[in-house]
Symmetry: C2
Subunit: 205 residues, 2 copies
DNA sequence: TAATTTACTAAACAGTGTTCAGTAACTTTG
DNA sequence: CAAAGTTACTGAACACTGTTTAGTAAATTA
């Protein structure tokens, strides 16, 4: 009897539909307007139904976060082709900036909001985050191996690089860049300059 | 007749009481639990009363943000005594880390949340933010003047420094530092190392 | 003292995440 | 094929949220 198999498949399909709807609402309306009722309405089910497939809202957001990481991986994959690791490192930075501008809602779910992280119990790994970070770390390691940068620890310097970019993106998105009293275009230039300066700073001369 | 003067004074006192109560609730319970009803209850008035003194919740949060900047200025002022601007720069970084750890709620109101920034109309200056940034920028300018660092623009490098620290603080507070799979203490060490590395990176050798 | 202004409140509106009793449809059993 | 059991789903409820507004009591002015 393939009934249990079909039921299981239907269960998974329903889960996927919820995640798809949640992703749409989230990308279109943002975090604040993403409510269980809103998601339920989009798939034409009652709000309670979502709780038959997810423990709580955080679990739904965690699933949407995964979608975001999959999107980023697709933009990251082609960068593997860049043979010079220092050039690849810069390309990762440019991709990171672009992603944060084109998908601001996904960006905050992936790197800012606490909600999706709350489903991860202590000491349990954050697979999607680690996978993305590994790509950065490997690139930094290659730079060290080829003596292109003066870093000791690839892990540490990968993290520093991430922190620098993340800080720039955050100050920009949260309007704290207002202290600079510049136009939006000048701010974009500032970010570009910042990435160039960062590469210059860590480069071996 | 001193009645209008007294009335004005009472109006200001009431505003102050609201801000004080809001600051307490905010520091104790955090952003999520800071509601108009919560603030009103603490000063034993109805929620509606707050709207006689503030346009909306954002305006209350903006006032609390100012309190946060005043707290930070008090920690910043003594650093003026440090004559060596590069040492002062590092001290600012250490103070910034400490502040973010000791007052996480104020930190997010000052540097992360959108709500308090929404009271600032476009092209209007963000005084408190600019004042704090000026202290950092002046210190970087002194470093340039004394040829201690290899920066061209003090404004740009002050911003880069801020972005780097802010990025570290954010990745830490938002649990994204989990990619490092380290203990809390190891993470604190990482932040300290990061600041040292940053100073080393921008220093003239 | 009467009229006016001021300060405040209670209630309402539309929204939130989550739980749970009840029900209708589907599946299994006899 | 009918009865029993299981599954999937819903509607309503609970305790919250920011904000608006009509109504009221007190303070001030005339």
């Amino acid at each position: 009897m393939g009934i249990i198999e079909r039921k299981e498949r239907e269960k998974q399909e329903m889960r996927d539909r919820i995640v798809e709807a949640a992703t749409e609402v989230f990308a279109e309306e943002g975090y604040e307007k993403t409510s269980i009722r809103n998601i339920a309405e989009r798939i034409e089910y009652s709000p309670g139904t979502i709780y038959l497939y997810f423990k709580d809202k955080n679990e739904v957001l965690f699933a949407v976060q995964k979608v975001g990481f999959d999107m980023m991986r697709e933009e990251m994959a082609p960068l593997q082709q860049i043979k010079n690791p220092l050039k690849r490192l810069k390309a990762i930075g440019e991709m990171y900036f672009r992603f944060s501008m084109e998908h601001p809602q996904h960006y905050s779910l992936m790197f800012v909001l606490m909600a999706p992280m709350e489903v991860l119990e202590e000491h349990k790994p954050w697979h999607k985050g680690q996978e993305a970070f590994a790509f950065l770390e490997n690139t930094v390691q290659e730079c060290i191996d080829k003596k292109l940068i003066h870093a000791k620890s690839a892990k540490d310097y990968a993290f520093y690089s991430w922190a620098f970019l993340h800080g720039l993106v955050m100050l920009n998105n949260s309007c704290r860049v207002r202290v600079m009293e510049q136009t939006d275009e000048e701010n974009r230039d500032l970010m570009e300059r910042a990435l160039n300066e960062w590469i210059k700073m860590i480069k071996n001369h």
